[in-house]
Amino acid sequence: MSKAHVYKRDHINTDEIIPARYLNTDNEQELARHCMEDLDAGFVKKLNKGDVIVAGDDFGCGSSREHAVWAIRGAGVATVIARTFARIFYRNAIDCGFYLIESKDAIERIADGDEVQIDYDKGIIEDKTNGQRIEFRPLPDFALEIIKDGGLLEHIKKRKS
């Protein structure tokens, strides 16, 4: 079971997810220690592996730093559920095989701390705390293929061979 960490905010940007002062490394575990630091300094401490982040519009806007995805993944976050995602963040996540969920109303229907269970194939988020079922459209086929292959580079290797 995953716990939802809900940020009722739009435009959570890459500087908040992983501040540039930590970009002098690309080590995922080092980056993970500072995940969401400028938005919520206590985030990493309260996070359990497999938890999810829930947010509003334009999650991940700003820089092209894939470090933002690595910090989130490295910290143990299973997925990010947002109303919309910034373009480069969305691409980066798919490219490194990290699943994202676009949901118009998850931000309204899931409360901070709720227990959620996600069926990625069927496109259903079950909020076990309040009993709600939230449907979402799974990622498009080409993105699922990349994720299934383990990221863009594995996907390319497979396609070329």
Binding site: D15, A20, D38, G62, S64, R87, I88, F142
Partner: protein, 420 residues
């Protein structure tokens, strides 16, 4: 079928007669831009996956810029990895320190950007190059690795929004004020996944430097790319800068091309703008915010660190002294030399500014001008997110070089028109 300039460039790059918005394509890349933050990770990925190769050593441009000269041991290690790779792969256009500069100022200046081509770079402000009637977009490290190894990348063809810039810019108002006004109207995700195509008479009077300030900030509205059509100004710049003089292909949007929306601006009515913390879309006219005390002025970056910007600042600083810490960062060594030759450094020195080597530096909170908690900085850069230039409790105010310079003299947000 009628197409936009973005669709035409992507059609050419994917070997198709036509493409339309929404279509998934595989495009051939003409130039890959690599810098010190996102490229070392891409190199490691390629080595780890056993595809450590480059698709064309002549089409990759490498410059360390974010943390150069190395700000600490960790960034020195990043530079070392970049350096070893560039040498091993015999990258033709590798700008080492002394020649290296802020990537988006350096590539056009050194003649790597050609109309009609597809340029990708491991940096979100790669959209800058669209000022040259090219398609260019920022990517992360995995996309960068794929581009380096294969010279191809998947794209979803974006819909386009047309921005018609009417009228003539008033005295003391610059392209930075225009793009801040645009982003403030549509919001930081107003062009999410889309192309921002700029047209209209106001562009005619703008230099390539001024146009690059506009396309540079397309990402601040969430756009995939920003693009400006080709004209005599583009042609003249290219004739002076292009490395490869072979003919380039000029595309333009068809008159009946489809746009998801059209936004018109009367540039004659735009005032100097200042984007309040913590979003580039929070801009207000200077008349609404003047008088707010600042602690630092930062003049530089891929948005406004070019020679034209430094000239505007020097004109305002001549014979005056700044009241607050003022940091001037010429974006490339060529700009640095030019500013020195033109006597601008003398003006900056006498005004009490410090002049740095070319670097992205403090724009992204790297080094060379970091803010303490509670401090406010008037900056010619492109982002003012929480913690962008230092402490999460500091504040960044975005403006044109003229507004930053006038504010530096008075130590508070100041209308530059009084000084021009």
């Amino acid at each position: 079928m009628a197409m936009t300039i973005t669709e035409k460039i992507l059609a050419r790059a994917s070997g198709k007669k036509t493409v339309k918005a929404g279509e998934l394509i595989n495009a051939k890349i003409d130039v890959v831009m690599c810098h010190d933050v996102t490229t070392p990770a891409a190199i490691s990925m390629l080595i780890e996956k056993g595809i450590d190769k480059v698709f064309d050593k002549n089409k990759i441009v490498v410059t360390p810029d974010h943390f150069q000269p190395a700000k600490d041991i960790k960034s020195a290690e990043l530079h070392k990895r970049l350096d070893e790779w560039a040498k091993r792969q015999k990258i033709k256009h590798y700008y080492k320190i002394g020649k290296a500069g802020v990537c988006h100022a350096l590539l056009p200046e050194q003649g790597h950007i050609r109309p009609g081509e597809v340029i990708v770079g491991g940096d979100s402000h790669t959209c800058t190059y669209g000022a040259f009637a090219a398609f260019s977009t920022g990517i992360g490290s995995t996309d960068l690795a794929a581009s380096i190894a294969t010279g191809e990348l998947w794209f979803r063809v974006p819909e386009s929004i047309k921005f018609i810039l009417n009228g003539k810019l008033p005295h003391g108002v610059y392209s930075k004020d225009v793009i801040l006004a645009v982003i403030t109207r549509i919001g930081v995700d107003g062009a999410l996944y889309k192309a921002m195509e700029f047209v209209g008479p106001a562009l005619k009077d703008m230099s390539m430097e001024a146009r690059m300030t506009i396309t540079n900030m397309a990402i601040e509205a969430g756009a995939k790319n920003g693009v400006i059509g080709f004209d005599s100004v583009t042609k003249k710049y290219l004739a002076a800068h292009l490395k490869d003089k072979k003919a380039y292909k000029v595309f333009e949007s068809d008159a009946d091309a489809e746009y998801s929306s059209v936004e018109e601006f009367d540039c004659a009515k735009i005032e100097p703008m200042v984007a309040m913390p913590h979003l580039p879309s929070n801009a207000v006219p200077i008349s609404k915010c003047k008088g707010m005390a600042m602690d630092q002025a930062y003049i530089g970056s891929c948005t406004n660190g070019r020679i034209e910007d430094l000239r505007i600042v020097a004109k305002i600083f001549k014979g005056k002294e700044v009241k607050i810490r003022t940091i001037i960062v010429p974006a490339t060594p060529v700009i640095w030399k030019q500013a020195d030759d033109e006597g601008l450094f003398d003006v900056f020195y006498k005004a009490g500014c410090v002049i740095s080597a070319p670097t992205c530096g403090a724009c992204l909170g790297g080094f060379m001008g970091i803010l303490a908690s509670g401090e406010k900085c008037i900056s010619t850069t492109n982002r003012n997110f929480v913690g962008r230039m230092g402490s999460p409790k500091s504040e960044v105010y975005l403006a044109s070089p003229a507004t930053a310079a006038a504010s530096a003299i008075e130590g508070k947000l100041t209308d530059p028109r009084r000084y021009i």
